[in-house]
Every structure is written in structure tokens, then in C-alpha cells.
């Protein structure tokens, strides 16, 4: 694994029956991700990247570019059509080849995920503490006092007042819900953290606080992180390296600063120039 935490190779996801010509006839060239021969949608194809320990990798692109599909595959929410993701904590083996029990273990212990919408990652009617404790329960914690200690530690690190620990996130603001998600994702000290549009839909001041928090926690824990965002600001703030995706393909990859200061691909140039 060359000391890498995660190595993704040739990740491809097709929606549709596929005809063998789908990948060749879509992408940035034809400027489309729908196969003209069979109508299959090529959500992403041939996506490869690696993440090292303590590193933050950004994936940017407009909506429909396939970046969330990458996140969904890595968190087992969808099954990739082909490709491999070798994971150090899984003995360097491909996580897509894992069986159901291994996948659950990976999801419970080794891969933390924060979704764009809190209702995807949280049960809004279960208390904030309970949402965090669910991860601990999955890891066979059976001491309520111990779990509450750990949950309040994680929640206060995520700037949720401990006094609101026994309240349901349904009564929380959007920003607070995202912070509960973050606390939950970090509960079992994962080796990989996936942030899928973690601040989209929040107002700018809340975004800034969450981004600061993510950056601080990431530095403290040294967790390898993949940040998926359409927002160049988020990627600039959080990441050292980034991929730019369009029509399901990686069109540019490199150091974040370099990509943002000196974009090579015309689409990246457009993206950088159109940033507000």
C-alpha cells in the first residue's frame, strides 16, 4: 500500500444495462455522461486516487459530475460497477470485495461519513447522544456511563452543548445537525473520514465554523479524509490535494493551490473563474 490509507483504482459506476461502448462514448470529449447507444448513465468511470495518513483530499466538480457517487461507493451506499478500493485497515484488500459482515465492520469501525443532509446520517428522532452511542453500541460498548462520557466528549468537541445531549437533532439547527454527524462519524476513531458536501446548504458564518472545526479535528486525529464539494472555497480551506471531476471523469488532479492558481483544464479554469 506504500503507506497509503486508501487506494482507489478505476472506480466505475454505471446506471443502466450498459453496452460495452458506454465508457468510451461518454466523458469530457463527448461532453455527456449518458451513453448515446444504450442510454446508460455513466456516473463515474476510471476514477483513481490515493489518500495518505493525515492527508485531506478534495474532490470538486459541478453537480452531476460523479463526485457523490464516489462517496456513495466508498461508504457502501451503492455498489460500484467495477474498480477497487484498497484500504490499509482492511489489510490492504479491496473493500468492494468484502462480504456483508465485513462491510458492516468497516462501516462501524473504520470509515466515518458525514452526509450533506443530516437525515441521511442521523436518526433525527433519536437523541444526539443516542446517535453517537449507536456507533459505540455497534462496537459492542455495553456501559451506559462510559458511552455517555464518550458521547459528551465527542459532542462538546463538535461544539454541541452537553446540556442538549438528550435532545433529538430534529430540534437542532442545520449547523448543529452537521456537527452531531461529525461527532457520530468520529465515534470509533475511523481511519478514513468521508465528508460529502458537509457544509452545503448552511449559511456562510455557520459554514466557516464547521470548516474550522473539521480542520481542527482532522489535525488532532490525523484521520485520512476525503472531502467532496462543489465549493472551491471549502476545498481551498481544507485540502492539500484535489481532483476535479466532470462528466464522471477526473479531468485534473494535483496540489490544491496549484489547481486553483494555475488551472490547466478548460473546465477547471471555468470553475475557478466562476467562483463567487
Amino acid at each position: 500500500m506504500n503507506g497509503m490509507v486508501l487506494q482507489v483504482e478505476g472506480l466505475t459506476k454505471l446506471y443502466g444495462r450498459g453496452c460495452g461502448r458506454c465508457v468510451a462514448s461518454t466523458g469530457p470529449g463527448p461532453a455527456d455522461n449518458t451513453c448515446p447507444h444504450c442510454g446508460t448513465v455513466v456516473a463515474c468511470a476510471g476514477v483513481s486516487f490515493e489518500v495518505g495518513p493525515g492527508e485531506v483530499l478534495g474532490v470538486v466538480g459541478e453537480s452531476g459530475s460523479g463526485k457523490s457517487t464516489v462517496a456513495a461507493c466508498l461508504s457502501f451506499d451503492t455498489e460500484p460497477s467495477s474498480g477497487a478500493a484498497r484500504f490499509a485497515r482492511f489489510g490492504g484488500r479491496d473493500i468492494f470485495a468484502a462480504d456483508a459482515a465485513e462491510r458492516r465492520r468497516l462501516r462501524d469501525f473504520d470509515i466515518g461519513i458525514v452526509y450533506q443532509t443530516p437525515q441521511q446520517g442521523l436518526d433525527l428522532d433519536v437523541t444526539a447522544g443516542g446517535n453517537v452511542a449507536e456507533r459505540l453500541l455497534a462496537a459492542e460498548w455495553r456501559h451506559i456511563g462510559g458511552m455517555r462520557d464518550r458521547a459528551s466528549q465527542l459532542l462538546s468537541r463538535a461544539e454541541i452543548p452537553v446540556s442538549r445531549m438528550d435532545e433529538a437533532p430534529r430540534h437542532f439547527s442545520g449547523g448543529m445537525r452537521q456537527r452531531v454527524q461529525l461527532a457520530r462519524a468520529l465515534a470509533n476513531r475511523p481511519a478514513l473520514l468521508i465528508l460529502d458536501e458537509p457544509t452545503t446548504g448552511l449559511d456562510v458564518s455557520v459554514q466557516a465554523r464547521i470548516l474550522d472545526l473539521i480542520r481542527d479535528i482532522q489535525r488532532e486525529t490525523g484521520v485520512a479524509t476525503v472531502v467532496i464539494s462543489h465549493d472551491l472555497g471549502v476545498v481551498r480551506l481544507l485540502t492539500e490535494r484535489a481532483l476535479v471531476m466532470r462528466h464522471g471523469r477526473v479531468v485534473e488532479a494535483g496540489l490544491t493551490d496549484q489547481i486553483l492558481e494555475d488551472p490547466q483544464h478548460p473546465y477547471t479554469q471555468l470553475l475557478v473563474n466562476s467562483a463567487v
Binding site: 437523541t127 443516542g130 449507536e134 453500541l137 451506559i144 456511563g145
Partner: protein, 295 residues
């Protein structure tokens, strides 16, 4: 005209014999029930689907337990039926009369004399022996129903022994109320493997299932499921290290008004005239015997 006469007339060519099969169910149905029961015994706590038959009582009124009993009885068996501990409740009385007429077996009120005890929501106070079978009437066989409404997901959770949602349910109960508030249907793990709904027995009865010498069969007729706890099998309630499983406790000095017992599961009642609260044993035949012994 009696029911027997009606049945005899309805099936021509049966001559003077009864118009129904021994023990009401036809032999193929009984065979299916026995095969599914064997499977259930082989995989303790696992819910086995079965083709629940139309019975002469409504689904949800004990058809699962009744079908199990009818597939088990034979000449020489002695059958007892209780409904929340009482032999005299309508449901128990009708079960007893149906089984005794259809299978021509002896019935009893004394748990010690029975070979098959069919029960709704209680386990007799008298410990059962290895030569006895306890048959439960189960309304909801799926313990995860409380936390996962989708059966397909619940089955996957069983397959992966992924019970963190049930644990979370108990955690939430402690977080909100300071204790586990689950009363009846307390979730248990059978043989260290499957999560099982012990039917709506009180917590009081849950420890009686643990390493019991008798076979316990659970039948849910409406939901079409059979499951089992074989003899000498571990049945452990879910509990936290700092919030242990507890059985119900009664107020200090509470005792049965009839027999004076303070070591049985008690029903709390209100005297309609004086308005005062009193207790009686839930297991009525056990209470009767104690009363006799005291005299």
C-alpha cells in the same frame, strides 16, 4: 343440533365418524407444523415461516399457539391452557374445550400434571420439567419490529446479528427515563445468537426461560412464524453493565389477598366498593393450590 352433528352432516360419506380429522388439522398440515417446529428447535430463536391455517377462531387470538398444540397432542397427553395466568378466562376455557374435543385428551388446571401447557403472556409459577412442553401464543414474533418497521431490513439485521438498533432503543430509554422502561416483550438473546421476542410475558418470567429443562415453542398464527427455545438453552435479556436487567418489583408488603403469597407475580386490582388497592396471584391455579395447602 350440536357442532359435532353439523360437522358430521356437512361431510357426506363419513358415516358415523366425526366430520373432522383427529386434532382438527389435517395430517399434512400437522406434518408441516412438526417439520417447521423441528427446524425452529434446531436454530434456537430463529423465526421459521409456516403456512398458518384457518382456525375456528380469529387470527390474533392464539391461532399460532393452538396450531402448535394441535400438532403436538396425541392420546395420553394432558393439556392445560392459561390466559395471563388464569385457567378460567374465556380464551383459555375455549382453547381447552376445543383441544379436548378435537383431540380427545385430558385437560388439567394443575401445571404439574400437564404434558402441554399453552399460554398467553405468562409462564406458570411452578417450574416445568423436561417432559413438558410450553407453547406460547405470540402476537408479534419480530423483536426488531420496535426499531425497524421494514421486515426485509430486520431479517438482514438478524442474519448479521446486527442488534445495535435494539440496544439503542434501550439506551434511549435510559437517557430519557433513567431506566430501561420495557415491560412485556423484553428482548432476549437465545443461545448467544439470535435476538428473540419472548412474547408479552412480564419481565418476571424472562429468567424462567434461561436454561429451562422444558422445550418452549412460540407460535404466531397471524404473522405465520414459529420459533423455539430448546431445553437447557441460554436466554439472556439485553442489559447494560451499569443498568442490569431487573424483574418487576411490587410495593413493600404486597401479597396475594387470597393465598398470602409474596413470592409470585401479582396482579394489582382495585376493590370497587372501598376503592383500595389489593393484589392477587396472576397464576390462579398455583394460588388455589397454595390456598388449599394453607388450610
Amino acid at each position: 343440533m350440536t357442532v359435532d352433528e353439523l360437522l358430521r352432516d356437512a361431510v357426506p360419506g363419513l358415516g358415523n365418524g366425526p366430520g373432522y380429522n383427529y386434532a382438527f388439522l389435517d395430517e399434512l398440515s400437522k406434518r408441516e407444523l412438526r417439520r417447521k417446529t423441528l427446524k425452529a428447535v434446531s436454530i434456537p430463536g430463529h423465526q421459521v415461516p409456516f403456512g398458518s391455517r384457518e382456525m375456528p377462531l380469529a387470527r390474533g387470538w392464539g391461532t399460532g399457539g393452538l396450531q402448535l398444540s394441535l400438532s403436538l397432542v396425541g392420546p395420553g397427553d394432558t393439556y392445560k391452557a392459561i390466559d395471563q395466568g388464569a385457567d378460567a378466562s374465556v380464551n383459555a376455557v375455549n382453547m381447552r374445550s376445543l383441544v379436548s374435543r378435537m383431540a380427545e385428551v385430558e385437560t388439567t388446571l394443575d401445571a404439574r400434571d400437564a404434558t402441554i401447557v399453552q399460554t398467553r403472556h405468562r409462564i406458570p409459577e411452578e417450574p416445568l420439567r423436561g417432559d413438558q412442553i410450553l407453547v406460547f401464543q405470540v402476537p408479534i414474533p419480530e423483536p426488531l419490529e420496535r426499531v425497524e418497521p421494514r421486515i426485509s431490513r430486520a431479517r438482514r439485521m438478524h442474519a448479521e446479528r446486527d442488534y445495535s438498533k435494539m440496544w439503542l432503543f434501550l439506551y434511549e430509554s435510559v437517557a430519557k427515563h433513567g431506566e430501561v422502561t420495557v415491560g412485556a416483550r423484553y428482548p432476549v438473546v437465545v443461545n448467544g445468537s439470535y435476538l428473540m421476542d419472548p412474547s408479552p410475558i412480564p419481565r418476571w418470567d424472562v429468567p424462567k426461560l434461561h436454561h429451562a429443562p422444558n422445550l418452549a415453542l412460540f407460535g404466531a398464527g397471524r404473522e405465520k412464524r414459529i420459533y423455539a427455545v430448546p431445553p437447557h438453552t441460554s436466554v439472556e435479556p439485553l442489559e447494560f453493565e451499569d443498568y442490569r436487567f431487573r424483574v418487576e418489583s411490587f410495593p413493600r408488603g404486597a401479597h396475594c389477598r387470597r393465598c398470602g403469597s409474596d413470592d409470585t407475580f401479582l396482579d394489582e386490582l382495585t376493590d370497587e366498593r372501598s376503592g383500595e388497592t389489593y393484589f392477587t396471584c396472576s397464576d390462579t391455579s398455583f394460588c388455589d393450590r397454595r390456598l388449599e395447602e394453607r388450610r
